[in-house]
Symmetry: C3
Subunit: 146 residues, 3 copies
């Protein structure tokens, strides 16, 4: 009788351990070995644009492109980085090809009377850059402002 109760008690203990541990396991499976980083580009400074692109490439080189989830959010005075005459157009294209997500802020575009035809091809768009930066941080992305 006592032995059986002890057995029941142990099995419940094990169930308890599994339950207590499950949030951790769930977290691990939702975020595999992925390293998530969001970059802010909001300066009208091509040196900063190059630094952001270097930073993204260094992360991919160091951790492997498939193990990184990188997004560059461009807004405010930084929007020139993504205009069709951007001095870093070739580098933005390379970043997109390597799997980096690059998005322009539509609020900024509206303020500066820019439409998609004025912008580099293949980039993405978000309604508000600052909202995107907040949401990505809420989702566990590290934030880097070059």
């Amino acid at each position: 009788m006592l032995a059986r109760r002890r057995a029941a008690s142990i099995s419940l203990l094990i169930a308890g351990i599994a339950l207590a541990a499950s949030p951790l396991r769930a977290q691990k499976s939702a975020e595999p070995p992925l390293h998530k980083v969001v970059f802010q580009v909001s300066d009208a400074d091509p040196q900063k644009w190059n630094l952001a692109l270097n930073n993204a490439r260094n992360l991919q080189d160091d951790l492997g492109a498939e193990a990184t989830d990188l997004e560059i959010v461009v807004y405010g005075p930084g929007i020139g980085m993504l205009k069709s005459d951007s001095p870093v157009a070739k580098r933005v294209a390379d970043a997109l090809k390597s799997g980096v997500k690059v998005v322009a802020c539509e609020n900024t575009m509206r303020n500066q009377k820019l439409g998609a035809p004025d912008m580099l091809p293949s980039i993405g768009y978000v309604a508000a850059g600052v909202v995107e930066l907040m949401k990505k941080q809420q989702q566990g992305y590290a934030y880097i402002r070059p």
Copy 2:
């Protein structure tokens, strides 16, 4: 006998699930649908001050003022944003009215021999801007440095 033990075992399992789940529920009720963002203003550059104020307004426009908890922390060379002769005085007043918290760093004020009478009315104060920025991030605020 066995049936009763199974019942007991199930009730304990349910208690276990409730216990394991409770930290999550507690977290949810402490952070409703609130989007929390802390902005750093530490440059002596009115364009950056305007960008910080634009960012706060865009967050409110996009998510609703009542669903956002926004704080602008001003320190170091950025302190001019909150002096009574600030070129963005009117915009700071509007931000305060809309529910944005705006705080000045008292360390910076002491270093620059500034007192509350030198500053815009209705702003808040913190002992150290950098400590405030750290604490807010610890409390789950996203960090934006315009």
Copy 3:
């Protein structure tokens, strides 16, 4: 019989509470009252270097050096802060003495043909500054970009 089962049930409940609470306790013991902050220095601007060093000192003054874990990551155009002819050499030495960790990015050093003999003594090195900044945020450090 019933009394004994109730006793068993209560002891399992207590075990359940302990198990459910343990992740929190583990977290607390791994992160005592420690306030963790990582600073990014990536501008070629001595005023920013001074601001980063001021920020670190203010955090120590406010919270106590023993309660803070501070790291300054220097990369890109900011690397001059840690060269042997740095205008803030004395202040960097003071920061190191007070327990602040200061690290230079080896990627940047390679690009600028710099070796350890070109740098300030006692600083640390990381393979890639941006990876370090990401990892520290993943480990719960607040991020400050002066």
